[in-house]
Symmetry: C2
Subunit: 328 residues, 2 copies
């Protein structure tokens, strides 16, 4: 059918590119044969999707990832990039105490993008969504000079109160679920041109957020919670300011994994710095008034005072003073 | 707080740019003082937003707009671009028979983007959302070589059945709400370097979707509905294929507005071509088994047959055969 405006994807360059098969062709390729998630009442292919929101509320979060800024196609496979894009958003939903139910994906891609690349990226998005019982319910594919992946995750609180950043109270225990420092170590390795150790590099490529720990924490009475995406101290800073509390992280409670000790030694970097400041692992940090639930580790305390985050009672100086964690 | 990975927005170039005030500074500027919509249970500022979904379902749609592809900063003001980005998505929600309740906005912007531009763009998003009682409930701002605006609209069916593209039945009447052809005419004017007539150019810059007609059509028993975003014939093609019906558009029922007659005459273009193939006005097309509700205009019929769209009983040839509508 004719359209009045020239299509940006109208010039075919190669048979296996977005330009060649067009937006609708690509969407068919990306959606065909996918199994809708339980909450999907109407999936891709109409003007909008319809998703169950069983308790009359929906949790929603959007993240945008840009090629060359948030990911590199020479560092990660398209599938890994898709997984990571989904994980970042699904973790945001979990951090509210919700269970993810659906993803919407916006792909802005250069017309010469190989279909195989976009297919693998979509495979990654689906795989990560399905790992938590969710699915891709809709999206958009457009032409763009830069590859940009925009993901919106939706989730269900299943009757729980949302756990915000603003509820931490003096006397609460700070606790952590999931890994920290790994993605930063992986980034440091990749930035120096190395491709191993694989476990460390993989952590940068595909995070492993502890999705189930989010609703679990909400059920256990967490007063505040946040997805650790920018770094533990930076993200706890958001909690401290939103809650009006002082948070003290106890480094003795943070076990530096053997592998990060090794990589840190090789690169001359104190691995504790990665644990305190490294983002993109999507651990969850939460505060609890009472006992910390199973699977969570107490790593600090919440006190009255100017909203700030301390490390062992001191303002963190970026590692300049040198924590000696190599010897542990 | 330090982060392990260098911030893409770390290099300040001018005081009033994204690079200078950073992501968090910009988010504060963009969200401060905005009035949350009625359905917003938790707005921007946490890991995720929480939105009411009163009947236990949420309608969701994502659109991505790319600078230079979907909009031009020399053709439209940032506020107009924001309005249009929101309108495209809100219309998708309306086309399901739902009332829009919230928007999530992903902004990928060059670091040297003036804050004023991003603020005006956000003003436009808010203005369009508020025009239907919705609000911006969350989003993300990141650095990117290309300006990309990704919008996810959420909405509530309020107990209605979703109206898909797949329910049109032989014997139904095809009807239209809202304007068609205007944005295409505006595009044609702008593409030739003109900036008037203002009403026509404005139609390209900011569409005026008939949002309320969506839920109204659902209440009136519409069997199928679609947002006319790619052009009437193209979008009816989706309905014809999804429903397995033949759709016939009667041009005698399409009134060519005086202004489009004038512009068409000036540019040597049959304005009926704009009405049949022009996108971006975000009219709604729906099929009704019985009477067409008030505010809707019957413009054709639905019949058994190969899924296709005809114009006055014939396959449309792109206007080559020449409909004579100049004289009307």
């Amino acid at each position: 059918m004719p359209t009045s405006q020239p299509s940006p994807t109208g010039e075919a360059e190669a048979e296996n590119t977005l330009a060649a098969i067009g937006e609708f062709g690509l969407i068919e390729r990306l959606t065909k044969g996918r199994r809708p998630s339980a909450a999907t009442l109407l999936g891709p292919g109409d003007d909008a999707a319809v998703l169950a929101a069983s308790d009359g509320r929906v949790v929603a979060s959007t993240d945008v990832l840009v090629a060359g800024v948030h990911f590199r196609l020479d560092w990660s496979s398209p599938e890994q990039i898709g997984r990571k894009a989904a994980a970042a958003n699904l973790a945001d939903v979990a951090a509210m105490g919700a269970v993810p139910t659906g993803l919407l994906v916006g792909l802005a891609c250069p017309p010469d993008s190989p279909i195989e690349t976009l297919g693998a990226l979509t495979d990654g998005l689906w795989a990560e969504a399905q790992s938590v019982g969710a699915g891709v319910i809709g999206g958009d594919v457009v032409s763009s000079p830069t590859l940009v992946v925009s993901v919106t995750a939706l989730g269900s609180l299943e009757g729980r109160e949302a756990v915000t950043r603003a509820g931490a109270r003096p006397g609460d225990t700070l606790a952590l679920a999931g890994r920290i420092g790994w993605a930063a170590a992986g980034w440091a390795v990749l930035a120096r041109g190395f491709r191993s150790p694989v476990a460390v590099v993989s952590a940068h490529r595909v995070p492993e957020p502890p999705y189930a720990a989010g609703p679990q924490a909400a059920d256990a009475g967490a007063t505040s919670m946040i997805d650790v995406s920018d770094g533990l101290l930076a993200d706890l800073g958001h909690v401290a300011r939103a809650s009006g509390v002082r948070i003290d992280v106890r480094t003795a409670a943070l076990t530096v994994p053997e592998r990060l000790v090794d990589v840190g030694a090789a690169l001359g970097i104190d691995p504790m710095h990665w644990l305190l400041t490294g983002g993109e692992d999507h651990a969850l940090a939460a505060t609890f008034p009472g006992e910390v639930p199973e699977g969570w580790t107490a790593i600090g305390t919440v006190a009255e005072g100017e909203p700030e985050v301390l490390v062992d009672g001191r303002v963190y100086d970026g590692g300049a003073s040198g924590w000696d964690h190599f010897g542990r």
